[in-house]
Subunit: 393 residues, 4 copies
């Protein structure tokens, strides 16, 4: 079993302290399926209240110091004020997420729509988000293109790619040098015949054409059944094109469950590639972001749980004995190499992480601490009147 | 190529004339994904207007003489009056579809909910739907149990099965002898870890326990990737447990696209099993129902297209040379047997169906006829004010 | 974190000591894909040498006291002698596995073949295996029907089901009262359009018709992508029709990797349903069998690893706090119930199992013990000349 | 329904006459699954006899003028003589396919193997194949890298990519300017955790680094479930990186069934993208190659059927009314655009193709002509003694 000598322990703790996991503002609001959105009590009614929730998650976990926002869901009059509000609560605004799916005009697409006036509108929204990012001090524009078609023949696959390139090019050229455009891909939904950016290959090809500030965003729920996601992660790292993650977990489609809940071993394997490539550190510029929908479970504890799941997987990845692994791999020792990995995965890292938190003055059990804190009761009592935020709100 | 002698032609025409395809009231309303419902013009504002649309589809196609309803979406004060309204327009009310997913109480399930009071409410809704069916003269209670869980451990799989059985038993025992309970299964959505009726085996096991009036409902979009649906159809027919279909098509999940749009060959293979088992006729008691969501395309022409797609697949299945097929199969002639099937599939049956319609005094091209009819313009002009019906409306 | 008080520890140890995991004789021989079988050194050349290997796995793990055999791969002149040979080495012969796929006659099927003379031959093979089982004292006839078709139309789906039933009926009626027929299902391969027993529902329907001694065999690698296997396990247990498992793991198809290697959390969830239904004990009559192909890795250590993986998953399942789980489930506490399960899964049970082994006089680390034992060097030295056994040998 | 005016008919006929479909030498030999290779009568015993069979397919169809070879399966002493043998029979040698999977050394990979000496051997084989291609006048080196791993941790994903690049670079640099390296990708099999070239994105990234003579090879059976293949085709065409196809069809995995047998609509959609991009003509340099395994059915008629299936799909694609399609797409007419495509697909093109063949002096029904020709009887009588060729032979 893996035992940590003091030097290694220090190293592991340092790596874990450096990790930043960004939570998404929209996951604090109500969400659901096409069948039903179940409303919960205490849901934020304003972007400010979402920031309060995100700050709470950070206070308890110590590793979630930023919050991604979604425009127009998080539209405010004064973005600099929003950013200051965040800073005052100990976090900052992270990625800016344009919304390209909730306008009536977007029935047949946004950036890829056959009508140039709709494309103009969608492209302008990207430009607006770049501006917002500059106001909030964000350095990531996180672009999910929800465009696609439902029927073969509905539109020209190639024509849509051309339109997509033109729109992205315009946005890319407008970005300041400090900003990156992360282009997300998705296998299907909301369209069911073709998506305009269905896989990492398509995103990669677009990013190559755009330039160095464009990178691929991997949402762990956006793949075909059976896809080896850690292979994609390793390949993109090797190409210098891994921009970041939208973490969540899935059993079937884009289920948007809590990351690590459906397949904790997969999450570990992904983090293992990150650690193997030394891409955990801030310098590697890989954004670790959550993107989830807590349809049934309470939002804030679910978010804490998710942050902890990423942290636990990371800790396990850091425990992998890299020298032993390399040796076994070089020697073609199939079982030996696999065993090195499994040894780390099978280790219970919760005591280690409890220590890490105690060292940092945090409660060793952030979920229990949340339940004891009275925060949930407070928001349920205070957040009445107004309208709860949610998808589309 | 398949040529029809007059005797065979008569036989094929008779079979086609006997076919009944039921359209769903809810598909005339607005629908969408969790990301967006795109509203269309001319959408029905009442159950009566949905019946108008369904009647229009029947007038043009001649093979869609009934409409399924969804409770409470199609709730009215006087169901007998609704049934008369349908009859006056040349159609009738078909299956009654209880809604077990849109109450706030159903967050953790309906018939399988851990709380007995929620189960009571859901079971009462089934009983109410049986009553409505008696008032409308419907003989099918079409039960989709949208229950399930999102996380391993969330609830007891076995406990939920027990609860499900109890609720179905109570409803089953309340049904009149003329009514059938069709139990639909679904692979996933709206739940993403487990569904309480995920596959035909589970539905079959429940139906066996319930009794002869319980049968399995096959929704063509509710299977795992790669599932051979015609095998399930043949197996259920052999067991006397095929209650009917919810037709639609899919590429990925429960996409609810127009039937036959994603894989016309699959639709043909399914109808081929129906024809092979002589289960097309009314006596076979197999309900051919559509269940689709026209998110992007106009509803009524999409419904006509769907009815025609089923009809075309049926015509092709009727053209299969059964004697030649049997002989080739018996002789182990792999390519020969496959070729018999493909010969029918590759035949263009549209001229034949145009004749069939002309014989019946219908326009040979129902879609063109719809566009010429002015119906769409009329409903767009008339159906203003009130609120358009849709999922959840 | 889960801590065990002495009473609970005793209970867990008892349950673990009672667990029997059967290894398959064929997995000690060479195997591969259609592209290549890579030969290894030290491979058994006779059924007796396979038993030696199986006995070695049992000696080291203490929980693998039987070995399944495959006929005709393990054909010998004197089966009673083979059984005695096993007993002398501390194990016994387990399930008898008929081979219905390696005769030239079986190109179009075995029990389902269109030609009655081929069906006769295949059925006779089942009868022969029943006899062998009586000679070896085996109480399980493990039937995998590899039949199916590659092209739509190739044969009648229904006709093949009828033939299958007739053949199984004849075999079933010949079995002694002490024997069970376990009917395995498989999604696809070696046929690629239809399999004659593709899913648990089909196996279940056949078993119901056959009688109480027929039960379903779940091979964990034989499902459609995304299938929730533990749901099937729970459902079959509830119906009294779970006969046993063929354990292995998969990422894509029937990959036949070491159980627990691809998704350890899934293995845990399956064992969790077993433990929850109190079906671990011998009285429950659930056969825990491995069925794997070690294409790349050395056979015996891979088998030990697999046995340990099942044991570790079982230990974790035994650690689940059932009372806490029930309470959280009853209260609709989604996160709480899930956390109870995950708490057990996240526990490192290796120290516990090391103790269990030490208590039983075994080496706490069976893999290290194997490598130290010199067994591998010995068989590599001794097993030269003769022909190594393998698929088809 | 689609009617062809004389000018359009001429155009369609010209396009169809220009189409070349390459058949694979290995598909004339025996093949099977890992469970069983069923031998057939009349199977070639030498590469020359395979060429005889390929020439027969071309004589009957008129559109299969080349045959791909596989080294070392088609190893001969004098490749120039083999090429002349082909020319004498009216066809030519097409793509050279290196075999990187059937050496004992390749257990852990070939070009990606951890041991440099194995990589050297595999790379040398590529160089040998380039030489053979120069001798046979082939301009395509068709590289399938069957490398991968079965267990997480077994080897370094990134390390293997580096090794792969180095080997491909060496081969690429050795190719004459007239030759192209087509890099095939495959989702899984023969490895079940990771493949070293699992998807088009990976192949694309390697080809970009290699240079203009490297392009992606799309095998239609090598994708994750649900993958929209025509999207990939369109995207690669847009990037100038579509090298060609390995056509076959699948329901589950790499089933290698006859192309068009599992999903004829998919084949049509793929050809539709080819026609839409004007990539049917020889100048487009897209290689249309078959790669199939006729496990159950007789090889030569199966190959003829496959060639006809591609030809029928192509004919349908040529019938698509491009102007009407463009207009409907531009107008956002979802149903109208889809209907234009479906109109072509639903057309029975068999009479048209019969005419095309008659014009060319061919029998309108190549399959019937084959059966009448006596060729099958002749080879079954003549090809006795020697050993039938097959996978691994």
């Amino acid at each position: 079993m893996t035992q940590l000598d003091p030097a290694r322990r220090t190293q592991v703790f340092q790596a874990l302290r450096a990790q930043h996991i960004e939570t998404p503002s929209w996951a604090y609001g109500n969400s659901g399926t096409r069948f039903k959105v179940f409303a919960q009590a205490g849901i934020p009614r304003t972007p400010y209240e979402k920031i309060d929730d995100a700050a709470t998650v950070h206070q308890l976990t110590g590793v979630a110091p930023s919050v991604a926002i979604h425009i127009p869901w998080d539209q405010v009059d004064d973005y600099a004020a929003l950013a200051r509000y965040a800073t005052d609560r100990g976090i900052r605004i992270g990625a800016i997420n344009p919304n390209l799916f909730q306008e009536d005009d977007y029935r047949l697409g946004s950036l890829c729509h056959p009508d140039p006036s709709v494309r103009r509108k969608a492209t302008d929204h990207l430009l607006e988000c770049i501006e917002i990012g500059q106001l909030t001090g964000s350095d990531v524009l996180s672009v999910w293109v929800p465009d696609g078609t439902n029927y073969a023949g509905q539109d020209s696959i190639t024509g849509r790619q051309d339109r997509l390139h033109d729109a992205l090019r315009e946005a890319y050229d407008r970005m300041p040098a400090s900003m990156r455009l992360l282009l997300e891909y998705k296998f299907f939904e909301p369209h069911f015949y073709s998506m305009d950016v269905p896989d990492w290959g398509t995103s990669f090809a677009h990013c190559l054409r755009l330039g160095e500030q464009a990178q691929v965003l991997v949402d762990t729920g956006h793949h075909a059944p059976g896809t080896n996601i850690e292979f994609i992660v390793a390949t993109l790292l090797r190409e210098g094109k891994l921009g970041g993650f939208h973490f969540n977990s899935r059993n079937y489609a884009d289920d948007d469950l809590m990351v690590g809940a459906a397949d904790p071993f997969q999450l570990f394997r992904i983090l293992n590639e990150i650690v193997a490539a030394d891409a955990l550190a801030a310098e590697a510029n890989v954004a670790f972001m959550l993107d989830q929908c807590h349809n049934l479970e309470p939002k804030i504890p679910a978010m804490i749980r998710s942050v902890l799941n990423v942290q636990e997987a990371t800790a396990k990845a850091l425990l992998v004995d890299r020298d032993a692994l390399r040796t076994a791999q070089r020697d073609g020792d199939v079982l030996g190499a696999h065993a090195v990995l499994m040894d780390a995965f099978n280790t219970d890292v919760r005591p280690l992480l409890a220590e890490l938190r105690a060292d940092a003055g945090l409660d060793p059990d952030p979920i229990a601490a949340y339940h004891r804190s009275g925060y949930q009761q407070r928001i349920e009592a205070e957040r009445v009147g107004g309208s709860a935020m949610g998808w589309g709100a």
